[in-house]
């Protein structure tokens, strides 16, 4: 895609002013890093607070004709294996759009905001997600793409104090709570969640107030802007999947080790079991197991094992038993880390495997994730 075709977010001018190095990402021109670089940005987020522009992501409202979010929830349950009906007002949960083969079309956040559901979906998938919902949801549920609001994430140990100073009420929220908070930059749609393993917030703000709001956050010494590079190393340390790398239409939620995201009520034997695309495949995998599993992988040496690195059971084996889907250096754990799929026989934590890097077999161990414990405020 040529540069002139790239879309921009409401914070584009601010990124330039802050010295962001801009790259194409999911059709948008986004900052991959600022002057301090990926390592320092990563560490800053974990020690103070990081501000991320995630306005490229899709914000979608599912508005039921009845004005009762339960009607939208019932409808959405036909597309996702999550218990949406049981999601209380003011709460959010992680969800997955599945296809008929049980593969993952996208991962998303689902929030119950009283008279509607609010969804946040991946930038690269948002057009398809919206078309999918419009085609499959009943006519009395309106699918509204929100294009006049920016989305910011404020993550890290100082996030609570900073946001509370601009939007009173933030500090009272718990992990996965959603609230509308008043601020000088208008109403903020806030969830206490994120993609870093840190305590923090994702904040939807009117597009024409977004820059002022971002500047107000950055006025705090604790807050530094963070690019996509550190966003990736932060999420990998937290063991979180990147759609398109670690999960996609060819991986099922069970293979992806995301059974925790399918509540009991939607599993075989549950009160609203099945009823979503691929439920037969996914239900059978819940009962009978899978052939491969997404696991954490900890290389022993200092050489990172990048996405695509083949994984072998033995140092001299010819056939790989899996491959890395995300791999990088973890600035906080100060060593390389990876995740990927391995055959179920080799997926136990502690299993010693081999990754092939530049023609050399290097030792790697199956490791539980997250690599760095999360610091959510439960």
């Amino acid at each position: 895609m040529a540069d002139q075709d790239l879309m921009t977010t409401p914070l584009h001018a601010l990124h330039a002013e802050l010295g962001g190095r801009m790259v194409p990402f999911a059709g948008y021109e986004m900052p991959v890093q600022y002057a301090p670089g990926v390592m320092k940005e990563h560490v800053h987020c974990r020690s103070h607070a990081g501000l991320f522009d995630v306005s490229h992501m899709g914000q979608v409202i599912l508005r039921p004709g009845s004005g009762d979010a339960a009607d939208a929830a019932r409808a959405l349950e036909s597309l996702v294996p999550q218990n949406v009906l049981g999601l209380a007002e003011g709460r959010q949960r992680y969800g997955l759009f599945t296809n008929e083969a049980g593969g993952i079309l996208d991962d998303l956040m689902i929030a119950n905001r009283g008279d509607h559901l609010f969804l946040v979906v991946n930038a690269a998938c948002k057009a398809d997600d919206i078309a999918h919902m419009r085609a499959r949801l009943p006519g009395d549920v309106t699918v509204e793409e929100i294009t006049d609001r920016a989305l910011l994430a404020l993550q890290g140990p100082d996030a609570e104090a900073v946001l509370e100073s601009l939007a009173p009420g933030a500090a009272e929220m718990s992990f996965m709570d959603v609230r509308t908070l008043a601020s000088d930059c208008g109403d903020l749609w806030v969830s206490r969640s994120g993609y870093t393993g840190e305590d923090g917030f994702e904040i939807s703000v009117a597009a024409d107030r977004a820059e002022a709001f971002a500047r107000a956050l950055l006025d705090h010494d604790a807050v530094a802007p963070i690019g996509l590079g550190a966003r990736d190393s932060l999420r990998l340390e937290a063991g979180l999947c990147l759609y398109g790398n670690d999960i996609d239409a060819s991986t099922t939620p069970i293979e992806a080790n995301l059974l925790w995201a399918i509540q009991k009520s939607r599993r075989p034997g549950g009160e609203r079991a099945g009823g979503y695309p691929g439920a037969d495949v996914i239900g059978a995998q819940i009962d009978a197991g899978v052939q491969r599993l997404r696991v954490g992988l900890l290389p022993e040496g200092r050489a990172p094992m990048r996405a695509g690195t083949p994984i072998f059971a033995g140092e001299a084996d010819t056939d790989p038993i899996g491959a890395v889907t995300s791999g990088a250096f973890g600035p906080s754990i100060e060593r390389p880390m990876a995740m990927g799929y391995v055959s179920i026989d080799h997926s136990d934590v502690g299993t010693k495997l081999w990754g092939e890097v530049r023609g050399k077999r290097l030792p790697v161990t199956v490791q539980s994730m997250p690599f760095r414990p999360a610091t959510y405020k439960r």
Binding site: Q33, G37, V38, M39, G229, A303, P304, F329, P336, R358
Partner: protein
């Protein structure tokens, strides 16, 4: 000091006319981003120009450092293995990669001087 189009610098040793220290420029270090892994050649290895002699990985990707001229690797900066960040912190100093004995010092004349390199980037 001499420079290559692959953003390496070569600094002749004061007391040995045919020995150069090799590293990467500030421009290259900035473009690569934070280095997290360095794999150095064995001392005593004979190399030809454009042989891949060092593997480096930044937070973003892997890349190679090529031999700038024919010669022999006589010393490597082992400190980089434990602390690859030295390359970002001091690319022209403590972040050097290796010293090599140049087979033909005339080859150095083919490389850019500082003014030419500045123009090049």
């Amino acid at each position: 000091m001499k420079f290559t189009e692959e953003h390496e610098w070569l600094r002749p040793e004061d007391d040995e006319a045919d020995v150069v220290t090799v590293g990467i420029t500030e421009h290259a270090a900035e473009q690569l981003g934070d280095l997290v892994f360095v794999e150095l050649p064995e001392e005593g290895t004979t190399v030809a120009k454009e042989d891949e002699v060092v593997v480096i990985e930044s937070v973003k990707a892997a890349s190679d450092i090529m031999a700038p001229v024919d010669g022999e690797i006589i010393e490597v900066n082992a400190a980089l293995v434990e602390n690859p960040a030295l390359v970002n912190e001091d690319p022209l100093g403590a972040g050097w990669f290796f010293k090599m004995k140049v087979a033909d010092i005339g080859d150095l004349d083919q490389l850019m001087d500082e003014a030419a390199y500045k123009k090049f980037i």
